[in-house]
Symmetry: C2
Subunit: 236 residues, 2 copies
DNA sequence: CAGTGGTCTAGACCACCGG
DNA sequence: CGGTGGTCTAGACCACTGT
């Protein structure tokens, strides 16, 4: 029996690795059934709680499917999920070694356009604060942020100038925990803002859209357009 | 004290929600320190193991930072991570209700180009199988797949025609568990393949790139180019 | 309805690291 | 050094669901 350390019992992380290797080797076949928790626990000489933890981790990783009474089965095609860290742009730029720059370009209150009312579930005539600003790495444009904040849900935004600090950072401090829907897409740079990113109109742009709810109400919607050549990368 | 159910003790999921709500309300302040596991367990009337599980979940979600001796601290800016499910394209199309269509466009073995050898860590003169194929939703192009498979690492690929089944599905069946690096980006449609997706050259395309390793060796690299208007969306 | 996973408990030991 | 989190154990009860 494989063990970690010098003869000690296996921890649940080691167990997970061991079981994962066994899955990869096809030990139980695709779609096959694993022994019960109790049996596996006995085989590896650990308590059922520990084995449960290890198997639970494998299920979270999408490698097996666990159901009461039915047992644990090997998923034929592992349900893959990629985790992308969504860093604050200030940190993302700092990580490249460049100096973070922020510039407010526009800021005005007004009625929400129809598409935004639909997306955020706002009533007719709802007022929003519309902000456009640029985050730079040194003197190079890095990300163009276009944001709408519901003044109904967050009236204190009206008192913020957003001159020295981006709305994202202000929101993080004001509404720390929230529900989020996020999309990634490719779009053509619009004549209206292509120049701000140092791009030609029509050039492909990597864009992230995010709508944020707090206590069931939509607070803000943002479009983040990234500099030419930007990639969002992860390993798993 | 808030409880779930009719007077029963709280489970660790309920505990997590409760603590998350308390975090959201600013109960411990940003950067503040939470009581110890033992204290919290006593306050909620659960065992320390259960409280540990709940706090561990909050740490995994990036809401708090836990360190021995130092205790649990509220993270000032929650380290957010979005999880994107990466479905098999056949399922993704089936989910829209359309019929899945597959067509092999090209398939040829040859030496790996330099950029690919660099990306996959292949030696000089390494042979790869280069495959181009199209996945359609009904009669509409959905995703163009361009893939390279290392014939050194996976010689059995040479015997596969990929005429009825895409290489992704064959790979899943052949190399079920692997390490992956994935990127999302925006690029302009190339003259060489824009037509296959029903697009004009230069039109913005949402592209996913993925390199897959198995037992420390790069197996395959793929570029997935999506139809116009594609979005990758998640909630968290 | 019986076998499986899901969870809780009380106690224990240990690793880590801040003061 | 001592308090904190990390983990394991043995036992227990329960929820779910396939047969």
């Amino acid at each position: 029996m494989t063990r970690t350390g010098r003869g000690g019992k296996m921890g649940w992380r080691a167990l997970r690795s061991e079981l994962q290797a066994r899955l990869a080797s096809g030990h139980w076949g695709a779609g096959g059934r694993l022994p019960s928790e109790t049996e596996l626990a006995a085989e590896f000489g650990v308590s059922r709680a520990t084995m449960n933890r290890a198997l639970g981790a494998l299920a979270e990783d999408g490698l097996i499917d666990r159901r009461r009474r039915a047992g644990s089965r090997v998923l034929p095609a592992p349900r893959r999920a990629a985790r992308f860290a969504i860093p604050v742009v200030r940190d993302e730029i700092a990580a490249t070694g460049a100096a973070y720059g922020y510039a407010l370009i526009a800021r005005e209150a007004g009625p929400a356009p129809d598409w935004l009312r639909a997306r955020m579930g706002l009533g007719a005539g709802a007022q929003v604060l519309h902000i456009l600003c640029l985050h730079s790495a040194g003197s190079v444009p890095f990300q163009l942020e276009e944001r709408w904040i519901s003044l109904e849900a967050l009236p204190e935004a009206a008192g913020e100038a957003f001159r020295d600090r981006g709305p994202t950072e202000w929101l993080i401090a004001t509404v720390p925990y929230s529900e989020v829907e996020m999309s990634f897409l490719a779009e053509g740079a619009d004549r209206a803002w292509a120049g701000l990113l140092g791009m030609e109109a029509g050039e492909p742009v990597f864009t992230a859209e995010r709508t944020t709810w707090w206590q069931g109400r939509a607070i803000t919607h943002v479009r983040l357009r990234y500099r030419r050549g930007y990639r969002m990368t992860t390993r798993y």
